[in-house]
Subunit: 298 residues, 2 copies
């Protein structure tokens, strides 16, 4: 059976594959790497690209360990014990407003008392939601899930709708995707779950290449750029107000530059933004429970 | 003795005076007003200026009332009861990076069971901290406080240092100012406290005019504009992550456009921003417990 060393090492390989793939895709930019160490144990490899096409992107790996904070032990119903957590986390902001913002995360957590689980997800935030592209994205995620369990895609799709949600605006962040957490032996064997999260991780590059190749050279207007900056503001609102991972990092004093790499290179807040028809069309699609798969024919 | 009608009415007058003063100061822009009503009682007058000089500014009045949410009653050690809350709240983002961001708020709260209090504050966030200007700002706030109680300025200055603080970066938001809350009859009579908060409100325009007139026509470089956009990112981080008023509004579903008028018109997050000497100088002054008053001579 795989152990935490295997997982950590495969997550590093996943980060390497994705960075290489993204450099090929972008064509111009190169990742810079910053290594960081955590005083209480572990550290990470933060990799950032700031390029002509991918205006700002981060592909981060980390593996941290140590004594579990008491309130987390309590919440898990455990006594004093140690934890180990490793993961890969990605957010990409392209310069072209026709290319969606994308996010992917896979993670593994274990405690010295025995409990362990995997978590992760992928979600996409197009500045302009195009049904056909959304359908293709969801179909691709469904295919990955279906290889393991046909119940997973519908469950994880709903989970993403509920998680990537701006409660204060009653809006989803984008077209959702999949989100899952606490995946343990009740779901499948450790080896099989690990294969699944690696598959999710590797599906990211396909999903992103699809929309990147389609739109990164498409001409755009000033208004379209403005709308992108406006929509990025909502991304900031989600990450700083609602995202549990970001809040946890800020509360507990993680590596700030690495945690906040998800924030856009540039964004705007305009009071009472005056939406045009195509922008309103996207706003109207920021809703939970849209069956994107069925939108292929439109 | 003044009652809540007097307070509400004087807060409206304060909003009128400030808007008029700011229109004169800006010279070009005019406020637009949006009235809003709260289903459960009350409403407000949101006033926004988006101009050549004041790139984005909001001067908001609100007065809301209704049944107190149970968890607030409990926190206050009260049974079921009704509340009334009114206030004026301002944030201004100038286009010129040499003009500081400024914030002012005065508020009054009362419950049907008896307890009432005033709160408020002013704080300034210069993109470039200049000791002489910071000293003058604090001197002006001290003068206002000293008219009522010589103990207040030092107490409220410390309170501002602690409140306007980005814990995740170990940085203050700017040069602070004054912050106070729960000011009730243990502090002074209701009439006297009311005079104080109106004085604080009226001191705002003087404080802002001082720096605005000094810097709004000063030439600036692209780098200075970039630094402003970078510093505004920190302002967003404070408001969305730490500001209790903003969080409370977002959690309880207030008027979103009005709550988030404090966010800048445009801002940036750059991974590992490469600070120059003058920017580092400002960063080094984002600390608690700086005695700005003593910096006049420099």
């Amino acid at each position: 059976m795989i152990d935490r060393q295997n997982i950590e090492s495969e997550f590093k390989n996943l980060q390497d594959r994705i960075c290489k793939g993204l450099e090929n895709l972008d064509g111009l930019g190169r990742f810079r790497q910053d290594l960081w160490h955590r005083e209480k144990g572990g550290g990470g490899r933060t990799r950032i690209i700031q390029s002509q096409h991918i205006e700002k992107g981060g592909v981060n790996f980390s593996a941290v360990m140590g004594d579990m904070p008491e309130r987390i032990s309590k919440a898990l119903g455990l006594g004093p014990n140690r934890f180990f957590a490793t993961g890969v986390s990605i957010v990409l902001h392209a310069r072209n407003p026709h290319v969606p913002i994308i996010h992917m995360n896979v993670r593994y957590f274990e405690t010295s008392e025995g409990p362990w689980w995997f978590g992760g997800g992928i979600d996409m935030t197009p500045h302009y939601i195009i049904d056909k592209d959304a359908a293709q994205f969801h179909r691709s995620l469904k295919e990955t899930c279906d290889k393991y369990d046909h119940a997973w895609y519908p469950e994880f799709k709903k989970w993403a709708d509920d998680y990537f949600y701006l409660k204060h605006r009653n809006e989803t962040r984008g077209i959702g995707g999949i989100f899952f957490d606490r995946m343990d032996s009740k779901r499948a064997s450790k080896d099989r779950l690990f294969d699944f999260v690696i598959d999710v991780g590797d599906s990211f590059l396909d999903c992103y290449s699809e929309v990147f190749n389609k739109y990164s050279d498409k001409a755009y207007t000033e208004r379209e750029k403005e709308w992108q900056l406006h929509r990025r503001g909502r991304y900031v609102e989600f990450n700083l107000v609602w995202d549990k991972g970001t809040r946890f990092g800020l509360d507990t004093g993680g590596n700030i530059e690495s945690i906040l790499m998800s924030l856009p290179p540039e964004c705007r807040w305009t009071y009472s933004y005056d939406y045009n028809k195509i922008e309103l069309d996207t706003l109207n699609k920021l809703k939970k429970e849209i069956d994107w798969l069925s939108r292929t024919a439109e």
